[in-house]
Symmetry: C2
Subunit: 322 residues, 2 copies
Amino acid sequence: MTDINKAIESLPWDKEPRGLYEPIAYTLASGGKRLRPTLALIAAEAIVNGGLLNGDVIDHVMPAALALEVFHNFTLLHDDVMDRAQVRRGRPTVHVKWDDNTAILSGDQMLIEAYKLLSDVPADKLPKVLKWFNEMATGICEGQQYDVDFEHANQVSIDDYMMMIEKKTSVLLAYAMKIGGYIAGANESQQEALYQFGLHIGLAFQIQDDILDVYGDPKTFGKAIGGDICCNKKTFLLLTAMERADGETKAELLQWMMASGKDTEKIAAVTAIYNRLGVREAGEAVIEQHTSKALQQLDRLPANYATEQMRQLAEKLVTRIS
Amino acid sequence: MTDINKAIESLPWDKEPRGLYEPIAYTLASGGKRLRPTLALIAAEAIVNGGLLNGDVIDHVMPAALALEVFHNFTLLHDDVMDRAQVRRGRPTVHVKWDDNTAILSGDQMLIEAYKLLSDVPADKLPKVLKWFNEMATGICEGQQYDVDFEHANQVSIDDYMMMIEKKTSVLLAYAMKIGGYIAGANESQQEALYQFGLHIGLAFQIQDDILDVYGDPKTFGKAIGGDICCNKKTFLLLTAMERADGETKAELLQWMMASGKDTEKIAAVTAIYNRLGVREAGEAVIEQHTSKALQQLDRLPANYATEQMRQLAEKLVTRIS
């Protein structure tokens, strides 16, 4: 973590034209969990057998780890324009602080900067890493498009939803681990185990997010509770409720979805329906499944300090409250 | 050319989600000169000594050639959003036919698609090609930002302007030739000659564009004459006029720049000032210089059918009317 933050801070944005690079520096300085580069480094650590990474391995993995973080922040920058989001990590978004055109162009440059970082991956590993990075990036754009499509769709199945969040959230975690491990020397079975681990914790993470949005403690969750309910967001909970409800309950649910201006009542009523239909428990069961699939991958990896961290990370996901 | 168009047509955009890929297919199907991939293939042809390219060389160069064309079209797509352009190549722009968010997201995916094509460059050539491609892409974003900055700047020198058009237009042509030649086996001196050739024809091309906007024949130029004058665009001609004008002429020029709603008169008056100050001749002298620098590069390249095409291309630039 310290290494990653130091590396991110030392990226050279102090360049001309300022109008292009300042928003990039601003975006990357706004913090965040640095989850993706952390996963890439943990995966590398797992493969070099859990000793602390030596300088060489860090030098080899860090460019890709940083590329993943810069890429992730690029997606946030452009997403904020598309969603008209005003605030990100407690600060005005780039399109608010500057303007839309700045956010578009600096975002484009940020995507290019991710590929610049990637070009420092050792030459013998570069072809595969570039292909995987492209697949990951494509997944995220496709996931974003499906997310938009689903907003306007009449019928979205739980399978559709799982496919969407896999693309939009999980493939980035999956490829972060696979790429980190591959650069550190993982064989094919280990690469696949790292990929699947990232994929399944990503899915568990997203569904936990859906649950926390309704059932979280406002003190620890950081966002207002019930935001997804207010805007009829097609989350795992709503889609499960739609699938399970019939007769009167379905009519009641649909009526609340069309209600406007009564947010507090709506949140309480829809949550009551969710409780009646047991959708929280359904979500928790799916989280359990994916956590368990993630943990199974550890059998194909060395038992060491890094894989122990992976186990703790997966287990923490199930019980996280923020 | 036929090869390039065939290869572009066979790119697989018939994929889900349609909302992401249809705008990409639409953008690439709208034609254009395919100048950048053509330059990459000519450069390759020059290096393999002007025989027709054999299948192997085409297979090796084509992915990068296509990546350059897809990248170029990505820049047009995002530029059109930022400029609020309504029409491109005779058809509604993507943000008009769909919406801004579609143009942003499909543009992002198009940039990623360029890198996907690039990942098919032969592995031993990939590290350098990726680095150069990134430098080229960075140049274009920086050039675009300078272009925006210059719109609002009080003082822009001719040197600033040349730096901006070098980044915004020329580096793409320069790297197209260098990359095409490098993949076909060019040595360092040849790579540099190809780069410089592309760079200088790019500069000559852009200044000729500035001249045609004022002095072109409306029948052949395709756009209305005087568009740059109407919107006070800081072209080579205007910046040269600002530098040369003094006393009364400068006052007159500034007055016309503040005038609004009298386009026909303004175009005639500013053109008359340009004529008085000899700015067209100044532009033609600079075109001549860059054309000559481009032609000098041919000494470092084999004399063959492809380099003869390069000579003709450079000479045609000076006399082109559209």
